[in-house]
């Protein structure tokens, strides 16, 4: 996970990369402030903002009451009046308490006001399963937000993107939602010392391959890369695309890859029905149907509320073995079970 520049790389974590991005944003623009539940004195429920209260003070690092609608709405209003708020929502499940504000206001006001009202707001939240925190803290609802015109939806899957997407999001004149997969926070990797803002308009090919395209985002990118490794050992050369931006989707990168490999497997931690994977699938069918050699396959979360017990949680989620099987299925080969 290096960005290929000449600057020396150093070891860091996804969590530290998020924190570095927040610190830089607060340092470089006095209009920026961070607010949310426990972002200050506690240091962030995932420790992303640890130390920022001490550095920037309570005006700019604001602990809020447990009032998702009120503080997300306040972020919208502050953005409308010239600030650049970063609002942290503890998990995507809790964001539903603010869905009214996000959909009916943040995403809507510019169009509904005839272009008069802009909402340059960034909302960050943790998403995803894997920590045995059961069905009210584990879901992947990125697709709810990716459904909504007026929003941009980002899913940083790498340390570079965790470090670099925030700054680009803050430059955007419209609301941007950043989904940080909770399992990624402790992931370690290398980051260039001069790492900074990254573009958010393109998907990334994380592994080049010629036999099949695996399309993933967020927490499923690493699982897809692991699957590709296993496939390589079996002589199948899979390409892995990290969508990075879930709205708007980068159709060009997806279609170009599938046109080359002629096979597509979409991996999505959301539920299958009405999923982001379904949307990607539809776009491939619309734009590359005649280039396909096999039906498109999807590896999604089973259609259950995420259970607590470890073996059940693991069974509910997309896993490398399932991805391997799905790819082999598109090759006309039996899976390894």
């Amino acid at each position: 996970m290096t960005n290929g520049t000449a600057a020396p790389a150093r070891k860091t974590t996804y969590r530290e990369a998020v924190r570095a991005a927040l610190r830089e944003a607060l340092r470089s623009d006095e209009r920026v402030f961070l607010m949310g539940e426990d972002v200050g004195r506690y240091g962030g429920s995932y420790a992303c903002s640890l130390g920022l209260l001490e550095e920037f003070g309570p005006e700019r690092v604001r602990d809020t009451p447990l009032s998702e609608a009120a503080f997300v709405g306040a972020g919208i209003g502050a953005a409308m009046a010239g600030m650049r708020p970063i609002v942290e929502i503890m998990t995507v499940n809790f964001s539903l308490l603010a869905l009214d504000q996000i959909l009916n206001n943040a995403a809507t006001l510019r169009h509904m006001s005839g272009g008069q009202v802009g909402v340059p707001l960034v909302i960050r939240m943790a998403t995803g399963a894997g920590r045995q925190v059961a069905a009210q803290h584990s879901h992947s609802l990125e697709n709810f937000y990716a459904h909504i015109p007026g929003l941009k939806v980002l899913a940083p899957a790498t340390i570079e993107d965790a470090r670099g997407m925030l700054a680009t999001a803050l430059e955007d004149p419209d609301p941007v939602i950043l989904f940080e997969h909770a399992m990624l926070y402790p992931v370690e990797g290398e980051l260039a010392a001069d790492a900074g803002a990254v573009p958010i308009d393109r998907a990334a090919i994380r592994r080049a391959g010629k036999d099949a395209t695996i399309i993933a985002y967020g927490g499923t990118v690493a699982k897809s890369l692991a699957a590709a490794q296993t496939l390589a050992e079996r002589g199948v050369d899979a390409e892995v695309i990290d969508l990075r931006t879930l709205r708007p989707l980068d159709d060009d990168t997806i279609v170009a890859s599938v046109t080359r490999t002629r096979r597509a497997v979409i991996v999505d931690e959301g539920w299958r029905t009405g999923s982001l994977a379904a949307e990607v699938c539809a776009r491939i069918v619309e734009k590359a149907f005649y280039d396909l050699d096999a039906p498109i396959a999807r590896v999604c979360t089973e259609e259950v509320p995420i259970p607590y017990a470890k073996h059940l949680e693991e069974a509910a989620l997309p896993q490398p073995a399932k991805i391997v099987d799905a790819v082999l299925g598109t090759m006309g080969e039996a899976g390894h079970g």
Partner: protein, 338 residues
């Protein structure tokens, strides 16, 4: 609910009122009344579609509040906002054109009656999710406070909003952070068709705000002078940095909730009783009793207002439709990525 429906006492403010102010208050209320009577007519004629929520009966609130706000103060309103917008200075033609769905409308015809916006006047809608505008008002006020501006955000909402969670979350946050918001609760005693005694366990709404430790006042919303006096007091305190202030304005909606409402939930007699407290009639009577307004004044005002309304209608009629090619314009600031 009729605790304020008895005969009005002239408020002490009356003693300082001069003729020009009296005429201005009367004119403000008549402007809204005549404009909306025309809207109802145009709705029946099919020129205005969608929902149309009339403010008729509640004009004393807008007339008492809006002229006291500074140009730099912000306003967040509801879907019953024609009166607020007009008295804030949103041009009547742009308001009418909006209802006609024309591109010359104040929201380019995208919003209609419920979503009047004019950022040049710091008029931020026109919000039709009950209580959904209140958190936005907090944010506008927070930005002003953080940037060291002494502006006030006036946040209007109805009694129905008080039952919503967003109301309570917002009262708490505004008081906790001492945000410069003047909350104006227009209590017309109905949440659409449900009477307040059928949906509120505590019908004194100011009491709810008070429990969040902010100053409150409860006034007769049919008495324009009482509204004005309370607003003046509230604005002074908020502008002085004392945090939010809450005014409950008890009022009554004379017309149906919207054009689709058959009014099965209230008696004609109840409406009749409240119409006796018509804010325009009450004020005109008191003002003429004190010799501030003569018998011809209202006639002159009505003629002038009728001309203004006619001009607004003509402007809307002459307006054009937004090209369908611009349908997705302004979904996002940059085109091509809605």
């Amino acid at each position: 609910m009729n605790h304020l429906a008895s005969g009005p006492e002239p408020s002490p403010d009356f003693l300082q009122l001069d003729r020009n102010e009296a005429l201005s208050l009367l004119r403000s209320m008549v402007r809204i009344r005549r404009f909306e009577e025309k809207c109802a007519e145009l709705y029946a004629a099919g020129k205005i579609r969608g929902f149309l929520h009339l403010y008729i009966g509640e004009e004393a609130i807008a007339a008492g509040v809006m002229p006291l706000l500074d140009a730099d103060d912000a306003i967040v309103s509801t879907y019953r906002e024609h009166g607020h917008a007009l008295l804030r200075g949103v041009p009547p033609g742009a308001v009418m054109a909006e209802m006609f769905g024309k591109v010359q409308g104040c929201s380019r015809g995208r919003g209609g009656s419920m979503h009047l916006f004019d950022v040049s006047k710091r008029f931020y809608g026109g919000n039709a999710i009950v209580a959904g505008g209140i958190p936005i008002a907090l944010g506008l006020a927070l930005a002003d406070k953080m940037q060291g501006r002494r502006h006030v955000t006036a946040c209007l909402f109805g009694d129905g909003a008080v039952a919503e969670g967003e109301f309570h979350e917002s009262m708490n946050l505004a008081a906790l952070w001492k945000l410069p918001v003047l909350f104006l609760c227009e209590n017309n005693q109905y949440a659409m068709g449900t009477a307040i005694d059928r949906y509120e366990s505590e019908q004194n709404l100011a009491l709810k705000a008070q429990s969040y430790r902010m100053g409150v006042e409860r006034v007769d919303g049919m008495d324009v002078l009482a509204v004005r006096a309370a607003t003046r007091r509230g604005l002074e305190l908020v502008r002085g940095g004392g945090g939010p202030w809450f005014i409950e304005l008890v009022t009554y909606r004379f017309r149906a909730h919207s054009a689709y409402d058959p009014e099965l939930y209230r008696s004609k007699d109840e409406v009749k009783q409240w119409r006796k407290r018509d804010p325009i009639v009450l004020f005109e009577a008191l003002a003429s009793e004190r010799g501030l307004v003569g018998p011809d004044d209202k006639v002159v005002i009505e003629q002038e207002i009728d001309a203004e309304v006619a001009a607004a209608v003509a402007f809307a009629e002459a307006g054009s439709l937004e090209p369908v090619g611009d349908l997705t314009k302004d979904v996002c600031a940059s085109r091509g990525t809605p």
